[in-house]
Protein backbone atom coordinates (compact mmCIF):
# COMPACT_ATOMS: atom_id res chain seq x y z
CA UNK A 1 0.00 0.00 0.00
CA UNK A 2 2.73 2.42 1.05
CA UNK A 3 4.84 1.33 -1.95
CA UNK A 4 2.08 2.12 -4.40
CA UNK A 5 1.61 5.62 -2.99
CA UNK A 6 5.37 6.25 -3.04
CA UNK A 7 5.60 4.97 -6.61
CA UNK A 8 2.83 7.26 -7.78
CA UNK A 9 4.49 10.23 -6.09
CA UNK A 10 7.84 9.45 -7.74
CA UNK A 11 6.19 9.22 -11.16
CA UNK A 12 4.53 12.57 -10.62
CA UNK A 13 7.83 14.12 -9.58
CA UNK A 14 9.52 13.02 -12.82
CA UNK A 15 7.29 15.15 -15.04
CA UNK A 16 6.74 18.38 -13.14
CA UNK A 17 6.75 20.49 -16.33
CA UNK A 18 3.83 18.90 -18.18
CA UNK A 19 0.82 21.20 -17.81
CA UNK A 20 -2.36 19.30 -17.00
CA UNK A 21 -5.04 19.21 -19.65
CA UNK A 22 -7.92 21.01 -17.97
CA UNK A 23 -11.28 19.62 -19.04
CA UNK A 24 -14.91 20.44 -18.45
CA UNK A 25 -18.31 19.13 -19.40
CA UNK A 26 -19.21 19.42 -23.05
CA UNK A 27 -21.60 22.33 -23.32
CA UNK A 28 -24.72 23.20 -25.21
CA UNK A 29 -25.76 26.47 -26.85
CA UNK A 30 -23.46 29.47 -27.19
CA UNK A 31 -21.06 28.55 -24.37
CA UNK A 32 -19.10 31.01 -22.27
CA UNK A 33 -16.80 32.69 -24.82
CA UNK A 34 -17.48 36.38 -25.42
CA UNK A 35 -19.59 37.36 -28.41
CA UNK A 36 -18.17 40.92 -28.35
CA UNK A 37 -15.64 40.54 -31.23
CA UNK A 38 -18.35 39.05 -33.46
CA UNK A 39 -20.78 41.84 -32.57
CA UNK A 40 -18.16 44.54 -33.18
CA UNK A 41 -17.23 43.04 -36.54
CA UNK A 42 -20.90 42.93 -37.55
CA UNK A 43 -21.26 46.61 -36.62
CA UNK A 44 -18.20 47.57 -38.65
CA UNK A 45 -19.49 45.61 -41.66
CA UNK A 46 -22.90 47.31 -41.52
CA UNK A 47 -21.34 50.80 -41.36
CA UNK A 48 -18.93 49.88 -44.18
CA UNK A 49 -21.81 48.61 -46.33
CA UNK A 50 -23.75 51.79 -45.61
CA UNK A 51 -20.74 53.92 -46.48
CA UNK A 52 -20.07 51.94 -49.68
CA UNK A 53 -23.69 51.98 -50.83
CA UNK A 54 -24.21 55.69 -50.18
CA UNK A 55 -20.86 56.93 -51.54
CA UNK A 56 -21.27 54.82 -54.68
CA UNK A 57 -24.81 56.23 -55.09
CA UNK A 58 -26.29 52.74 -55.32
CA UNK A 59 -29.36 54.15 -53.55
CA UNK A 60 -30.92 57.58 -54.24
CA UNK A 61 -29.19 60.14 -52.06
CA UNK A 62 -32.46 61.35 -50.58
CA UNK A 63 -33.17 57.88 -49.16
CA UNK A 64 -29.73 57.18 -47.77
CA UNK A 65 -27.36 59.97 -46.73
CA UNK A 66 -23.66 59.23 -46.47
CA UNK A 67 -22.04 58.67 -43.07
CA UNK A 68 -20.14 61.94 -43.57
CA UNK A 69 -23.41 63.89 -43.99
CA UNK A 70 -24.91 62.30 -40.92
CA UNK A 71 -21.84 63.26 -38.88
CA UNK A 72 -22.09 66.80 -40.21
CA UNK A 73 -25.78 66.90 -39.35
CA UNK A 74 -24.96 65.71 -35.85
CA UNK A 75 -22.34 68.44 -35.45
CA UNK A 76 -24.76 71.06 -36.74
CA UNK A 77 -27.47 69.81 -34.36
CA UNK A 78 -25.00 69.88 -31.47
CA UNK A 79 -23.71 73.39 -32.29
CA UNK A 80 -26.79 75.22 -33.57
CA UNK A 81 -29.72 73.18 -32.33
CA UNK A 82 -32.84 72.61 -34.40
CA UNK A 83 -36.31 74.18 -34.57
CA UNK A 84 -35.66 76.92 -32.01
CA UNK A 85 -34.14 74.64 -29.39
CA UNK A 86 -30.67 73.28 -28.68
CA UNK A 87 -29.83 69.58 -28.87
CA UNK A 88 -29.72 69.31 -25.08
CA UNK A 89 -33.12 70.94 -24.79
CA UNK A 90 -34.59 68.37 -27.18
CA UNK A 91 -32.93 65.46 -25.39
CA UNK A 92 -33.72 66.94 -21.99
CA UNK A 93 -37.42 67.31 -22.84
CA UNK A 94 -37.63 63.65 -23.89
CA UNK A 95 -35.65 62.39 -20.89
CA UNK A 96 -37.73 64.46 -18.49
CA UNK A 97 -40.94 62.94 -19.86
CA UNK A 98 -39.75 59.37 -19.81
CA UNK A 99 -38.12 59.58 -16.37
CA UNK A 100 -41.14 61.32 -14.82
CA UNK A 101 -43.45 58.72 -16.29
CA UNK A 102 -41.12 55.89 -15.19
CA UNK A 103 -41.03 57.24 -11.62
CA UNK A 104 -44.83 57.43 -11.45
CA UNK A 105 -45.27 54.02 -13.08
CA UNK A 106 -42.79 52.39 -10.66
CA UNK A 107 -44.30 54.13 -7.63
CA UNK A 108 -47.81 52.97 -8.58
CA UNK A 109 -47.10 49.72 -10.43
CA UNK A 110 -44.90 48.03 -7.81
CA UNK A 111 -47.27 48.25 -4.81
CA UNK A 112 -50.38 47.61 -6.92
CA UNK A 113 -48.71 44.63 -8.59
CA UNK A 114 -47.59 43.22 -5.22
CA UNK A 115 -51.11 43.64 -3.86
CA UNK A 116 -52.54 41.98 -6.98
CA UNK A 117 -50.38 38.98 -6.14
CA UNK A 118 -51.45 38.97 -2.48
CA UNK A 119 -55.10 39.99 -2.40
CA UNK A 120 -57.99 38.54 -4.33
CA UNK A 121 -59.88 41.84 -4.21
CA UNK A 122 -57.01 43.95 -5.59
CA UNK A 123 -56.42 41.44 -8.37
CA UNK A 124 -60.11 41.32 -9.20
CA UNK A 125 -60.37 45.11 -9.34
CA UNK A 126 -57.23 45.86 -11.37
CA UNK A 127 -57.26 42.84 -13.70
CA UNK A 128 -60.14 44.15 -15.81
CA UNK A 129 -58.78 47.63 -16.69
CA UNK A 130 -55.19 46.41 -17.14
CA UNK A 131 -56.13 43.48 -19.35
CA UNK A 132 -58.39 45.81 -21.34
CA UNK A 133 -55.99 48.66 -22.07
CA UNK A 134 -52.55 46.95 -21.91
CA UNK A 135 -52.74 45.23 -25.34
CA UNK A 136 -53.93 48.45 -27.02
CA UNK A 137 -51.30 50.40 -28.98
CA UNK A 138 -50.75 53.72 -27.12
CA UNK A 139 -51.21 55.61 -30.40
CA UNK A 140 -54.80 54.36 -30.46
CA UNK A 141 -55.75 56.18 -27.28
CA UNK A 142 -53.36 59.13 -27.71
CA UNK A 143 -56.10 61.21 -29.45
CA UNK A 144 -58.32 60.73 -26.40
CA UNK A 145 -55.47 61.78 -24.10
CA UNK A 146 -55.02 64.97 -26.14
CA UNK A 147 -58.74 65.72 -26.17
CA UNK A 148 -59.08 65.09 -22.44
CA UNK A 149 -55.79 66.47 -21.15
CA UNK A 150 -54.62 68.95 -23.80
CA UNK A 151 -51.49 69.03 -25.90
CA UNK A 152 -49.16 69.92 -23.02
CA UNK A 153 -46.91 67.72 -20.91
CA UNK A 154 -49.81 66.21 -18.96
CA UNK A 155 -51.21 64.19 -21.86
CA UNK A 156 -47.77 62.88 -22.89
CA UNK A 157 -46.72 61.89 -19.38
CA UNK A 158 -50.08 60.25 -18.73
CA UNK A 159 -49.76 58.27 -21.96
CA UNK A 160 -46.24 57.16 -21.07
CA UNK A 161 -47.22 56.30 -17.50
CA UNK A 162 -50.08 54.13 -18.71
CA UNK A 163 -47.84 52.32 -21.18
CA UNK A 164 -45.18 51.69 -18.51
CA UNK A 165 -47.51 50.88 -15.60
CA UNK A 166 -48.87 47.61 -16.94
CA UNK A 167 -45.59 45.68 -17.45
CA UNK A 168 -44.35 46.79 -14.01
CA UNK A 169 -47.58 45.83 -12.22
CA UNK A 170 -47.86 42.51 -14.05
CA UNK A 171 -44.24 41.55 -13.34
CA UNK A 172 -44.59 42.49 -9.64
CA UNK A 173 -47.66 40.27 -9.51
CA UNK A 174 -45.75 37.43 -11.16
CA UNK A 175 -42.91 38.04 -8.68
CA UNK A 176 -45.24 37.46 -5.74
CA UNK A 177 -46.37 34.16 -7.26
CA UNK A 178 -42.74 33.04 -7.51
CA UNK A 179 -42.17 33.38 -3.73
CA UNK A 180 -41.64 29.88 -2.36
CA UNK A 181 -44.20 28.73 0.21
CA UNK A 182 -41.37 27.32 2.36
CA UNK A 183 -39.84 30.79 2.73
CA UNK A 184 -43.22 32.19 3.73
CA UNK A 185 -43.75 29.38 6.24
CA UNK A 186 -40.25 29.88 7.63
CA UNK A 187 -40.86 33.61 8.16
CA UNK A 188 -44.28 33.03 9.76
CA UNK A 189 -42.87 30.45 12.17
CA UNK A 190 -40.20 33.01 13.11
CA UNK A 191 -42.98 35.37 14.17
CA UNK A 192 -43.31 37.64 11.13
CA UNK A 193 -46.35 39.90 10.92
CA UNK A 194 -48.07 40.31 7.57
CA UNK A 195 -46.28 43.58 6.90
CA UNK A 196 -42.88 42.11 7.90
CA UNK A 197 -43.56 39.17 5.59
CA UNK A 198 -44.24 41.58 2.74
CA UNK A 199 -41.15 43.71 3.37
CA UNK A 200 -38.59 41.04 4.31
CA UNK A 201 -39.66 38.10 2.14
CA UNK A 202 -42.14 38.96 -0.60
CA UNK A 203 -40.64 42.23 -1.88
CA UNK A 204 -37.01 40.99 -2.09
CA UNK A 205 -38.17 37.69 -3.65
CA UNK A 206 -40.16 39.59 -6.28
CA UNK A 207 -37.43 42.18 -6.88
CA UNK A 208 -35.69 40.39 -9.80
CA UNK A 209 -38.99 40.14 -11.66
CA UNK A 210 -39.91 43.75 -10.83
CA UNK A 211 -36.58 44.92 -12.28
CA UNK A 212 -37.21 42.87 -15.41
CA UNK A 213 -40.62 44.55 -15.64
CA UNK A 214 -39.01 47.99 -15.33
CA UNK A 215 -36.60 47.12 -18.15
CA UNK A 216 -39.48 46.11 -20.40
CA UNK A 217 -41.39 49.25 -19.34
CA UNK A 218 -38.47 51.51 -20.32
CA UNK A 219 -38.27 49.88 -23.76
CA UNK A 220 -42.04 50.31 -24.19
CA UNK A 221 -41.61 53.89 -22.92
CA UNK A 222 -39.14 54.88 -25.64
CA UNK A 223 -41.45 53.51 -28.32
CA UNK A 224 -44.43 55.36 -26.91
CA UNK A 225 -42.46 58.56 -26.32
CA UNK A 226 -41.57 59.04 -29.96
CA UNK A 227 -45.17 58.37 -30.95
CA UNK A 228 -46.42 60.97 -28.44
CA UNK A 229 -43.93 63.60 -29.59
CA UNK A 230 -44.72 62.99 -33.24
CA UNK A 231 -48.18 64.38 -32.77
CA UNK A 232 -48.08 67.24 -30.34
CA UNK A 233 -44.80 68.70 -29.18
CA UNK A 234 -42.48 71.62 -29.73
CA UNK A 235 -39.46 69.90 -28.22
CA UNK A 236 -38.18 66.38 -27.86
CA UNK A 237 -36.28 63.89 -29.97
CA UNK A 238 -39.48 62.49 -31.49
CA UNK A 239 -40.52 65.98 -32.53
CA UNK A 240 -37.03 66.58 -33.94
CA UNK A 241 -37.28 63.46 -36.13
CA UNK A 242 -40.80 64.40 -37.25
CA UNK A 243 -39.93 67.93 -38.30
CA UNK A 244 -36.70 66.79 -40.01
CA UNK A 245 -38.69 64.27 -42.04
CA UNK A 246 -41.09 66.97 -43.19
CA UNK A 247 -38.09 68.67 -44.87
CA UNK A 248 -36.88 65.30 -46.21
CA UNK A 249 -33.69 65.84 -44.16
CA UNK A 250 -32.85 62.13 -43.86
CA UNK A 251 -29.42 62.92 -42.41
CA UNK A 252 -31.11 64.62 -39.41
CA UNK A 253 -33.56 61.71 -39.12
CA UNK A 254 -30.55 59.41 -38.85
CA UNK A 255 -29.11 61.60 -36.09
CA UNK A 256 -32.41 61.46 -34.17
CA UNK A 257 -32.56 57.68 -34.48
CA UNK A 258 -28.96 57.44 -33.28
CA UNK A 259 -29.72 59.60 -30.21
CA UNK A 260 -32.74 57.47 -29.24
CA UNK A 261 -30.72 54.29 -29.69
CA UNK A 262 -27.92 55.69 -27.51
CA UNK A 263 -30.39 56.77 -24.78
CA UNK A 264 -32.21 53.44 -24.80
CA UNK A 265 -28.90 51.58 -24.67
CA UNK A 266 -27.72 53.73 -21.74
CA UNK A 267 -30.98 53.01 -19.87
CA UNK A 268 -30.66 49.30 -20.48
CA UNK A 269 -27.04 49.36 -19.31
CA UNK A 270 -27.99 51.33 -16.19
CA UNK A 271 -30.73 48.81 -15.41
CA UNK A 272 -28.22 46.01 -15.65
CA UNK A 273 -25.93 47.78 -13.17
CA UNK A 274 -28.87 48.42 -10.82
CA UNK A 275 -29.83 44.74 -11.07
CA UNK A 276 -26.31 43.65 -10.21
CA UNK A 277 -26.29 46.02 -7.25
CA UNK A 278 -29.79 45.22 -5.93
CA UNK A 279 -30.01 41.47 -6.62
CA UNK A 280 -26.47 40.10 -6.50
CA UNK A 281 -27.96 36.75 -5.50
CA UNK A 282 -29.84 36.32 -8.79
CA UNK A 283 -29.29 32.81 -10.13
CA UNK A 284 -27.62 31.74 -6.88
CA UNK A 285 -30.55 30.16 -5.08
Amino acid sequence: MTDIVAGAAAEEAQTPEAPPRVVKMRGFGIGERSTLPISLTTGVIIVAAWWGASEARLVPHLFLPTPREVVNAAISFYQDGYANASMWEHIGASLMRILTAAAIAIALGTPIGLLMGLSRWTKGVFDTPIEFYWPLPPLAYLPLMIIWLGIGELSKITLLTMAMFAPIALSAQAGVRSVSIERVHAALSLGATRFQLLREIVLPSALPEILTGIRIALAVGWGTLVAAELIAATRGIGHFIMSASQFLATDFVFVGIGIIAACAFAFSFAMRLIERWLVPWKGQS
Binding site: L190, G191, Q196, Q284
Partner: protein
Amino acid sequence: MLRVDKATVYFAARDGRPVHALDSVSLDIPDGGFVVALGTSGCGKSTLLNAMAGFLPLSSGSITLNGHAVLGPAKARGVVFQKDTLLPWKTVAENVALGLKFAGIGRKERHERALDLLGLVGLQDFAAAAPYELSGGMRQRVGIARALAPEPDILLMDEPFGALDSMTREAMQELLVDVWAHTRKQIFFITHSIEEALFLGTQLIVMSPRPGRIVARFDLSFVNAFARDRDARAIKTAPEFAALREEIRAIVHQNEALRIAAQ
Protein backbone atom coordinates in the same frame (compact mmCIF):
# COMPACT_ATOMS: atom_id res chain seq x y z
CA MET B 1 -45.41 20.00 26.55
CA LEU B 2 -46.81 19.55 23.07
CA ARG B 3 -49.91 17.36 22.92
CA VAL B 4 -51.42 15.97 19.75
CA ASP B 5 -54.88 14.58 20.38
CA LYS B 6 -56.59 12.39 17.75
CA ALA B 7 -55.25 14.50 14.91
CA THR B 8 -56.96 13.60 11.65
CA VAL B 9 -56.33 15.15 8.24
CA TYR B 10 -58.12 14.67 4.92
CA PHE B 11 -56.70 16.30 1.80
CA ALA B 12 -58.63 16.85 -1.41
CA ALA B 13 -57.22 14.79 -4.27
CA ARG B 14 -57.15 16.18 -7.81
CA ASP B 15 -60.59 14.80 -8.53
CA GLY B 16 -61.94 16.32 -5.30
CA ARG B 17 -62.25 13.05 -3.38
CA PRO B 18 -60.93 13.25 0.20
CA VAL B 19 -57.62 11.45 0.82
CA HIS B 20 -57.09 10.20 4.36
CA ALA B 21 -53.59 11.49 5.18
CA LEU B 22 -53.55 11.28 8.98
CA ASP B 23 -55.73 9.00 11.06
CA SER B 24 -56.39 9.90 14.70
CA VAL B 25 -52.77 10.37 15.74
CA SER B 26 -52.15 11.06 19.43
CA LEU B 27 -48.74 11.97 20.76
CA ASP B 28 -47.20 13.77 23.75
CA ILE B 29 -43.82 15.45 23.55
CA PRO B 30 -42.74 16.19 27.13
CA ASP B 31 -40.45 19.11 28.04
CA GLY B 32 -36.92 18.16 27.08
CA GLY B 33 -38.25 15.24 25.02
CA PHE B 34 -36.77 14.32 21.67
CA VAL B 35 -39.38 12.49 19.61
CA VAL B 36 -38.42 11.00 16.28
CA ALA B 37 -41.01 10.02 13.67
CA LEU B 38 -39.93 7.27 11.31
CA GLY B 39 -41.75 6.07 8.25
CA THR B 40 -41.75 5.58 4.50
CA SER B 41 -42.75 8.35 2.11
CA GLY B 42 -46.41 9.26 2.34
CA CYS B 43 -46.90 7.95 5.87
CA GLY B 44 -48.18 11.31 7.06
CA LYS B 45 -45.14 12.34 9.11
CA SER B 46 -44.72 15.62 7.24
CA THR B 47 -48.46 16.21 7.43
CA LEU B 48 -48.23 15.76 11.20
CA LEU B 49 -45.32 18.20 11.40
CA ASN B 50 -47.09 20.78 9.23
CA ALA B 51 -50.09 20.57 11.53
CA MET B 52 -47.87 20.99 14.61
CA ALA B 53 -46.22 24.01 12.99
CA GLY B 54 -49.63 25.53 12.26
CA PHE B 55 -49.19 25.49 8.49
CA LEU B 56 -52.05 23.02 8.09
CA PRO B 57 -55.39 22.98 9.94
CA LEU B 58 -56.69 19.63 11.18
CA SER B 59 -59.85 18.01 9.86
CA SER B 60 -60.53 16.93 13.44
CA GLY B 61 -58.63 16.55 16.70
CA SER B 62 -56.43 19.12 18.38
CA ILE B 63 -52.85 20.17 18.99
CA THR B 64 -51.88 22.18 22.05
CA LEU B 65 -48.55 23.56 23.23
CA ASN B 66 -48.38 24.11 27.00
CA GLY B 67 -52.19 24.14 27.03
CA HIS B 68 -52.60 26.71 24.24
CA ALA B 69 -54.27 25.53 21.05
CA VAL B 70 -52.14 25.66 17.88
CA LEU B 71 -54.06 27.90 15.47
CA GLY B 72 -51.30 29.00 13.08
CA PRO B 73 -47.54 29.44 12.78
CA ALA B 74 -45.95 31.13 15.80
CA LYS B 75 -42.45 31.66 17.08
CA ALA B 76 -43.05 29.31 20.03
CA ARG B 77 -42.71 26.52 17.46
CA GLY B 78 -39.46 26.80 15.46
CA VAL B 79 -39.24 24.89 12.20
CA VAL B 80 -36.19 23.49 10.37
CA PHE B 81 -37.08 22.56 6.80
CA GLN B 82 -35.80 19.79 4.56
CA LYS B 83 -34.96 22.29 1.84
CA ASP B 84 -33.02 25.19 3.24
CA THR B 85 -35.11 28.36 3.26
CA LEU B 86 -32.36 30.89 3.96
CA LEU B 87 -32.74 34.29 2.32
CA PRO B 88 -29.97 34.86 -0.25
CA TRP B 89 -30.15 38.65 0.11
CA LYS B 90 -29.13 38.47 3.77
CA THR B 91 -25.83 37.39 5.30
CA VAL B 92 -25.65 34.26 7.43
CA ALA B 93 -25.82 36.34 10.63
CA GLU B 94 -28.79 38.36 9.33
CA ASN B 95 -30.57 35.13 8.46
CA VAL B 96 -30.05 33.79 11.96
CA ALA B 97 -31.23 37.11 13.41
CA LEU B 98 -34.39 37.24 11.26
CA GLY B 99 -36.75 36.14 14.03
CA LEU B 100 -35.16 38.66 16.41
CA LYS B 101 -35.71 41.39 13.81
CA PHE B 102 -39.38 40.40 13.57
CA ALA B 103 -39.57 40.71 17.36
CA GLY B 104 -38.27 44.29 17.15
CA ILE B 105 -34.90 43.67 18.81
CA GLY B 106 -32.22 46.27 17.97
CA ARG B 107 -29.53 45.67 15.36
CA LYS B 108 -26.61 45.42 17.77
CA GLU B 109 -28.24 43.01 20.20
CA ARG B 110 -29.57 40.72 17.49
CA HIS B 111 -26.16 40.58 15.84
CA GLU B 112 -24.57 39.54 19.14
CA ARG B 113 -27.19 36.88 19.73
CA ALA B 114 -26.81 35.64 16.16
CA LEU B 115 -23.06 35.27 16.71
CA ASP B 116 -23.71 33.27 19.91
CA LEU B 117 -26.05 30.93 18.04
CA LEU B 118 -23.61 30.56 15.16
CA GLY B 119 -21.00 29.60 17.76
CA LEU B 120 -23.38 26.91 19.03
CA VAL B 121 -23.49 25.32 15.55
CA GLY B 122 -19.79 25.95 14.86
CA LEU B 123 -20.19 28.64 12.18
CA GLN B 124 -19.00 31.79 13.96
CA ASP B 125 -16.44 32.41 11.19
CA PHE B 126 -19.14 32.52 8.51
CA ALA B 127 -21.32 35.29 9.98
CA ALA B 128 -20.67 37.69 7.09
CA ALA B 129 -20.88 35.07 4.31
CA ALA B 130 -23.80 34.77 1.91
CA PRO B 131 -25.89 31.60 2.35
CA TYR B 132 -25.13 30.43 -1.20
CA GLU B 133 -21.42 30.39 -0.37
CA LEU B 134 -21.98 27.62 2.20
CA SER B 135 -22.23 23.84 1.74
CA GLY B 136 -25.50 22.00 2.25
CA GLY B 137 -24.57 20.85 5.77
CA MET B 138 -23.51 24.35 6.78
CA ARG B 139 -26.76 25.80 5.46
CA GLN B 140 -28.76 23.36 7.56
CA ARG B 141 -26.73 24.37 10.63
CA VAL B 142 -27.64 28.01 9.88
CA GLY B 143 -31.26 26.85 9.60
CA ILE B 144 -31.06 25.28 13.07
CA ALA B 145 -29.47 28.43 14.55
CA ARG B 146 -32.17 30.57 12.91
CA ALA B 147 -34.97 28.39 14.29
CA LEU B 148 -33.44 28.61 17.79
CA ALA B 149 -33.05 32.41 17.73
CA PRO B 150 -36.57 33.40 18.87
CA GLU B 151 -36.21 30.89 21.74
CA PRO B 152 -39.03 28.55 20.75
CA ASP B 153 -40.42 25.95 23.16
CA ILE B 154 -40.17 23.23 20.53
CA LEU B 155 -38.12 22.62 17.43
CA LEU B 156 -39.91 20.88 14.55
CA MET B 157 -37.46 19.31 12.10
CA ASP B 158 -38.70 17.94 8.77
CA GLU B 159 -36.02 15.56 7.45
CA PRO B 160 -33.39 18.29 7.89
CA PHE B 161 -30.49 15.97 7.04
CA GLY B 162 -32.24 14.09 4.22
CA ALA B 163 -30.29 15.82 1.45
CA LEU B 164 -26.85 15.47 3.07
CA ASP B 165 -24.19 12.88 2.34
CA SER B 166 -23.86 10.19 4.99
CA MET B 167 -20.59 11.50 6.49
CA THR B 168 -21.94 15.03 6.90
CA ARG B 169 -25.15 13.53 8.16
CA GLU B 170 -23.51 11.71 11.07
CA ALA B 171 -21.63 14.87 12.06
CA MET B 172 -24.91 16.80 11.94
CA GLN B 173 -26.65 14.22 14.15
CA GLU B 174 -23.95 14.61 16.78
CA LEU B 175 -24.19 18.40 16.53
CA LEU B 176 -27.95 18.23 16.97
CA VAL B 177 -27.59 16.08 20.08
CA ASP B 178 -25.17 18.68 21.48
CA VAL B 179 -27.63 21.49 20.72
CA TRP B 180 -30.44 19.52 22.34
CA ALA B 181 -28.34 18.67 25.40
CA HIS B 182 -27.34 22.33 25.66
CA THR B 183 -30.77 23.94 25.17
CA ARG B 184 -33.07 21.13 26.41
CA LYS B 185 -35.71 22.12 23.84
CA GLN B 186 -38.47 19.73 22.92
CA ILE B 187 -37.67 18.34 19.50
CA PHE B 188 -39.88 16.62 16.95
CA PHE B 189 -37.70 15.13 14.25
CA ILE B 190 -38.75 13.39 11.04
CA THR B 191 -36.55 10.91 9.24
CA HIS B 192 -36.76 7.84 7.05
CA SER B 193 -33.42 6.50 8.30
CA ILE B 194 -33.85 3.86 10.99
CA GLU B 195 -30.32 4.34 12.30
CA GLU B 196 -30.77 8.11 12.55
CA ALA B 197 -34.08 7.63 14.34
CA LEU B 198 -32.59 5.24 16.90
CA PHE B 199 -29.54 7.35 17.55
CA LEU B 200 -31.35 10.65 18.04
CA GLY B 201 -34.60 10.19 19.93
CA THR B 202 -35.69 9.65 23.50
CA GLN B 203 -38.91 8.39 21.99
CA LEU B 204 -39.52 6.84 18.59
CA ILE B 205 -42.81 6.59 16.75
CA VAL B 206 -43.04 4.38 13.66
CA MET B 207 -45.66 5.53 11.18
CA SER B 208 -47.39 3.70 8.35
CA PRO B 209 -49.20 5.16 5.33
CA ARG B 210 -52.76 5.17 3.97
CA PRO B 211 -53.98 6.45 6.28
CA GLY B 212 -50.99 7.84 8.19
CA ARG B 213 -50.99 6.44 11.70
CA ILE B 214 -48.63 5.39 14.47
CA VAL B 215 -47.99 1.63 14.43
CA ALA B 216 -45.30 1.34 17.12
CA ARG B 217 -43.70 3.39 19.89
CA PHE B 218 -40.34 2.88 21.60
CA ASP B 219 -38.57 4.63 24.44
CA LEU B 220 -34.90 5.09 23.64
CA SER B 221 -31.80 5.99 25.61
CA PHE B 222 -29.00 5.89 23.02
CA VAL B 223 -29.07 9.67 22.74
CA ASN B 224 -28.45 10.00 26.47
CA ALA B 225 -25.55 7.56 26.19
CA PHE B 226 -24.04 9.69 23.44
CA ALA B 227 -24.54 12.93 25.36
CA ARG B 228 -22.65 11.26 28.24
CA ASP B 229 -19.89 9.22 26.54
CA ARG B 230 -19.68 10.96 23.13
CA ASP B 231 -18.84 7.73 21.34
CA ALA B 232 -21.21 7.42 18.40
CA ARG B 233 -19.48 4.38 16.85
CA ALA B 234 -19.69 2.40 20.08
CA ILE B 235 -23.43 3.11 20.33
CA LYS B 236 -24.26 2.31 16.71
CA THR B 237 -22.31 -0.96 16.79
CA ALA B 238 -23.65 -2.12 20.17
CA PRO B 239 -25.72 -5.35 20.05
CA GLU B 240 -28.83 -3.75 21.58
CA PHE B 241 -28.72 -0.98 18.93
CA ALA B 242 -28.49 -3.58 16.14
CA ALA B 243 -31.26 -5.71 17.67
CA LEU B 244 -33.64 -2.76 17.92
CA ARG B 245 -32.71 -1.66 14.40
CA GLU B 246 -33.72 -5.09 13.04
CA GLU B 247 -36.91 -5.14 15.07
CA ILE B 248 -37.96 -1.77 13.69
CA ARG B 249 -36.93 -2.73 10.17
CA ALA B 250 -39.22 -5.77 10.50
CA ILE B 251 -42.13 -3.57 11.60
CA VAL B 252 -41.61 -1.17 8.70
CA HIS B 253 -41.33 -3.99 6.17
CA GLN B 254 -44.32 -5.85 7.54
CA ASN B 255 -46.47 -2.75 7.23
CA GLU B 256 -45.17 -2.12 3.76
CA ALA B 257 -45.98 -5.70 2.75
CA LEU B 258 -49.51 -5.43 4.21
CA ARG B 259 -50.06 -2.19 2.35
CA ILE B 260 -48.92 -3.64 -0.97
CA ALA B 261 -51.06 -6.74 -0.40
CA ALA B 262 -54.08 -4.54 0.28
CA GLN B 263 -53.75 -2.70 -3.02
